[in-house]
Symmetry: C2
Amino acid sequence: MRAVIQRVTKASVTVGEEQVSSIGRGLCVLLGISVDDTQKDAEYMVRKILNLRLFEDESGRSWSRSVMDGNLEVLCVSQFTLQCILKGNKPDFHAAMPAELAQPFYNSILEDMRSAYKPELVKDGKFGAKMQVHIQNDGPVTVELTSPSSPTDPKQMAKQEKQQQRKEKTRAKGPTESGREKGSQRSRQDPSASSGAEGDVSSEREP
Amino acid sequence: MRAVIQRVTKASVTVGEEQVSSIGRGLCVLLGISVDDTQKDAEYMVRKILNLRLFEDESGRSWSRSVMDGNLEVLCVSQFTLQCILKGNKPDFHAAMPAELAQPFYNSILEDMRSAYKPELVKDGKFGAKMQVHIQNDGPVTVELTSPSSPTDPKQMAKQEKQQQRKEKTRAKGPTESGREKGSQRSRQDPSASSGAEGDVSSEREP
């Protein structure tokens, strides 16, 4: 699973003339689900999105507050093109989870995020629709995230899995709940690994 | 080097009350330079940004036209936060090239892009300034690119280097010039590899 996370002053989604949703200060998350993603990837993403320290505190110290710390909003939009594999200059999307599977999975990720935070502060686009996503990137500040269990070098994968298992053993609560435990949990979380999905098929899927 | 490429209906950059630049239809590129990047990474990025087929043709066929094919615009903004490494939930930026080195390098990348395309169609932000980047993501369509020579698994790196060398041998012209050769070159370009930069230091760098 891949996410492009943009810190925003505001953001909104329109479909045709209709505004589907909008947020003020917070994060605009474009989320790309791969064919190989599982609940574990979803939990990682929800935890990271909600806990990433991309905001400054009252004294102006950067990188100290999360979207949750600041009671800010999240606009999450499904974005299968993040699972693009280039064949020369042509993108293909067979690494993306097919829409009929991705839609319920994506909805469950949104639900997880709402449960772990505040339902009214987590907004959505319109899955599968042709959207205009209006993003006022603040800084700009943009971060890419790839869930550790995405297909990558087997050796690296094994290492990441072990880290993940170790981490899970040290956690008393579930991962979305532990997202709310700030401070003590932080030092034990391993650095996020970013890696690429690979594949070899071509697709004509529409945005 | 990492880029987040968003297909846009329009995009602009403001610093305070002043609009620094704006484009209509085209690509908004957020570009993150790492400490290890060289001219080779720059050439790869310029070639890919200009030749990526993210637009539809006149008949509505998706993924068939590049920004150059459509005579469209590029808004490129420097974005060191793409070189973020997470320490738990805290981003640190020691993998990003320091600003005093990144600025001339970034400027040279813009110049390369302008030479390879049309200078008046390649716009810029304001390096190092606190900007608001207004992005109307069209679709949405977002693609992440990582230059093949970014630090990654050594085995994979060796493979990529060989592919790159092979590719360079087959090219008569320089890489930015070959960006204009559509069709015949496409099938010979290797798939872009996406991989993560690693590091172990912490930074308080501002956006």
